[in-house]
């Protein structure tokens, strides 16, 4: 991960004590007074060469013992210059207000609402600062350290939020009567648990409001109450369509904090299985978004390769969907003896399905009418909203974590980053189809290189469990086993932001340790969160049927969106 190509700080313009510089483990960290935050943010985005155009993540942290209890952490990236920067803004408890950055990065909208919901901090200038993940009857702010993790509040139907999106005042008044329609949260086109309330003018959406939080499962609070190893199964259930990539993302973050070197065999397997998971995820996304536009056949065609990949994952880990196959320092178990043969068989079977789907779709008049130019967004605007991943690459921005901040074995294989320029539903589909092919290319090269010999997990009794036969026969190993099970891994104090390329964008884990044996705070940067926050902007002005088609192509996964 590149440490710094960031511009030097700007001491002349800002008072000397308003910015403190720290060299972080992963990227430079600036501690900033909240008074200068907006000016600084504008300054940081200004430079056309190295400006920080992407707000990756925004989260709060609670330190009850500090004088200024809360800290809001901003993670910035510069797609133009390649730099990364972390800003930290302390906020006292008795005056929990800081300026909103929504005018600088539109993507800050939902992130700020989340911080308000979880910590009770107010963002001055935010137009719609209300709860986003928890429900209307909820009281208190759950990610504060003094909130009991199991304290529930019951929501009854009469208290449910009823959005009433108001069309803009200057909207053209025509003959049609306006009507408000509610779609979701239980609706076949809403892919799980999203809810869109739209005001219709005839068939055209003139205003809409998106409501989420119906699957908020408290991942971050759960992570704080479990040991480092116990968090791994929770990460599976973030993006459950490609759970292995989540495992890798989390384990990599903790491994960097621990400074553990993962054995080559595990790295090799992680890369291959991540790519298979990506293929699976793209199959689900493309398959279900095609169903939304009526192309049901493709759903069956795309689910079959998925089943085949399930077979491989099941052989490795014992589970089909939620694999939990990574461990901090390596893998949970050794690869099955027929791993290579299985992978080769998959490489033979998958392309035929993909080719079939492509042939059915790409020159299909009905699909083209439904998809070309629908829900289009330009590259610059998409970056400003915080987009990453295939959706961003469909808008012409060439950014992929695997290539730009390479990890595992991605910099040793030869592959391309497919980029399309339409930014619409059609190009998002095309990007995913091309990426499936690239993933298979990566896998083929790695298989040709041969499976590295050696252990599948690091040989460090403070991190990895000793093998069972040793633990049963040697006193020392048994003690290590006991300590690891009872106390968990002791991660040294520190913080890190570590990202992998998830199936729908940059999947980041911001991990804070205080050395207590449990994570102090884990913040996931869910790639689909900023993407879905754009949904109203994408569908307003289009027809209601286009809204359905555009949701499928965004690949929004509720488990990850709402955690």
């Amino acid at each position: 991960m590149p440490t710094t190509t960031a511009p030097l700080p700007l001491p002349e313009r800002f008072p000397a004590d308003s910015i403190q510089l720290r060299e972080g483990l992963d990227q430079p960290t600036w501690i900033v007074r909240r008074e200068i935050l907006v000016d600084l943010a504008r300054e940081l985005t200004a430079d056309p060469e190295t400006g920080f155009d992407l707000l990756l993540d925004l989260c709060g942290v609670d330190y009850p013992d500090r004088e200024e209890r809360f800290e809001v952490v901003y993670h910035l990236a510069s797609l133009r210059g390649g730099g990364r920067l972390r800003l930290k803004v302390p906020v006292p408890e008795d005056d929990p207000v800081l300026p909103s950055l929504i005018d600088v990065w539109k993507g800050a909208d939902w992130f700020e609402r989340e911080v308000y919901d979880m910590f009770g901090l107010h963002f001055e200038g935010h137009p719609n600062l209300r709860r986003i993940l928890t429900h209307e009857a909820f009281q208190g702010h759950p990610l504060r350290k003094d909130y009991d993790p199991a304290r529930r509040w019951i929501l009854t139907e009469d208290k449910m939020y009823r959005p009433q999106p108001e069309p803009p005042m200057d909207a053209e008044d025509d003959m049609f009567e306006r009507m408000t329609i509610n779609i979701g949260p239980s609706h076949p086109a809403m892919h799980g648990t999203f809810r869109v309330v739209a005001t219709l003018d005839g068939e055209i959406i003139s205003a809409s409001e998106v409501e989420i939080g119906y699957l908020h499962r408290c991942f971050e609070k759960m992570a704080e109450t479990h040991t480092w190893q116990q968090v791994i199964p929770y990460t599976d259930r973030l993006n459950y369509c490609s759970s292995f990539i989540n495992n890798v993302g989390y384990c990599r973050a903790v491994e960097t904090l621990l400074n553990v070197e993962v054995p080559p065999r595990a790295v090799w397997a992680r890369t291959i299985l991540s790519e298979f998971s990506r293929v699976m995820d793209h199959c689900v996304c493309n398959g279900s978004s095609l169903v939304d536009s009526g192309a049901l056949t493709n759903f069956w065609y795309l689910f079959q390769p998925r089943e085949e990949i399930y077979g491989l994952l099941e052989a490795c880990s014992g589970a089909r969907l939620t694999v939990s196959y990574c461990r901090i320092g390596g893998l949970a178990a050794d690869l099955p003896p027929d791993f290579e043969a299985r992978c080769r068989a998959l490489l033979e079977t998958i392309p035929a399905f993909i080719d079939d789907v492509e042939k059915l779709i790409v020159s299909n008049r009905i699909w083209l009418d439904r998809a070309v130019g629908i829900a289009a967004i330009g590259g610059e605007e998409a970056v400003n909203w915080g987009w990453t991943g295939p959706c961003l690459r469909a808008s012409g921005v060439d950014y992929d974590v695997r290539r730009d901040n390479p990890y595992d074995l991605y910099d040793t294989v030869d592959w391309d980053v497919p980029v399309f320029h339409g930014g619409d539903v059609h190009d998002r589909f095309r990007v995913r189809i091309s990426e499936i092919r690239e993933s298979l290319k990566i896998i083929r090269q790695l298989l040709d290189r041969g499976m590295p010999e050696g252990p599948f997990i690091v040989d460090d009794p403070h991190v990895a469990l000793p093998p069972k036969e040793v633990a049963y026969n040697q006193m020392e190993a048994m003690i290590y086993h006991f300590k690891l099970i009872m106390d968990g891994i002791q991660v040294p104090p520190g913080e890190i932001y570590s990202a992998v390329e998830g199936a729908n964008g940059e999947l980041g884990f911001y991990v804070l340790s205080d050395g207590s044996g449990k994570p102090y705070r884990i913040k996931v940067r869910p790639p689909c969160f900023p993407i879905f926050s754009t949904f109203s902007r994408l569908i307003n002005g289009g027809t209601i049927s286009d809204a359905v088609v555009s949701l499928g192509g965004l690949n929004v996964i509720a488990g990850e969106l709402e955690r």
Binding site: L155, S186, Y214, K221, T322
Partner: protein
């Protein structure tokens, strides 16, 4: 009545046979389990073999609700409403650890099992359950319905006999 042959039956038995072999499930899928549910209905596992052919997304047209996934407190009133909208007779299959008990989310926003709010007929454990697990669950539901109708019929028969007896005694 097949070709030349005849079958005699009662209307109740015919109704039960029909009901048992043509469920119209409503997938109330919220999370990971919904993805496994999709696997079960797609071609590889093909739940249609057991008469679960017609997956309906409208509660008004369905008789089995398959709750697949975590139900949060925010979702709870929605689930209740959809259950209430289903016409009788209706059954509920709770698919996966979260729907059965909250699973490993002992947390501030997660319902600790859907039976806090609606009655459940079959619990399918697993996180997520394997497709075979879900299929076993729906076959159990079939058996349960058969058992319940048999019991009901017995009860009604006994009641009738009882009524006749009391009339005779008078």
């Amino acid at each position: 009545m097949i070709g030349e042959s005849w079958v005699t039956t009662t209307f109740e038995k015919l109704e039960e046979w029909g009901r048992n072999n043509s469920f119209w499930p409503l997938p109330f899928g919220t999370a990971c389990c919904a993805i496994e549910f999709m696997s079960v209905v797609s071609s590889h596992y093909d739940m249609a073999r057991f008469g679960y052919e017609v997956v309906r997304f409208s509660p008004r047209q369905s008789d089995v609700m398959i709750v697949a996934g975590t139900i949060t407190d925010k979702m709870a009133p929605v689930m209740k409403k959809i259950y209430d909208q289903m016409p009788d007779p209706k059954w509920v299959v709770s698919m996966g650890a979260c729907a059965c008990s909250g699973g490993f989310y002992r947390a501030y926003h997660v319902m600790q099992g859907i039976d806090e709010l609606i009655p459940v007929d079959v619990y399918v454990p697993g996180c997520p359950p394997s497709p075979e697990g879900l299929m076993y669950g729906i076959l159990q539901l079939k058996e349960k319905i058969e058992r319940d109708t048999k019991k009901r019929r017995k009860r009604e028969k006994a009641k009738r006999a009882d009524d006749d007896g009391s009339v005779a005694a008078a």
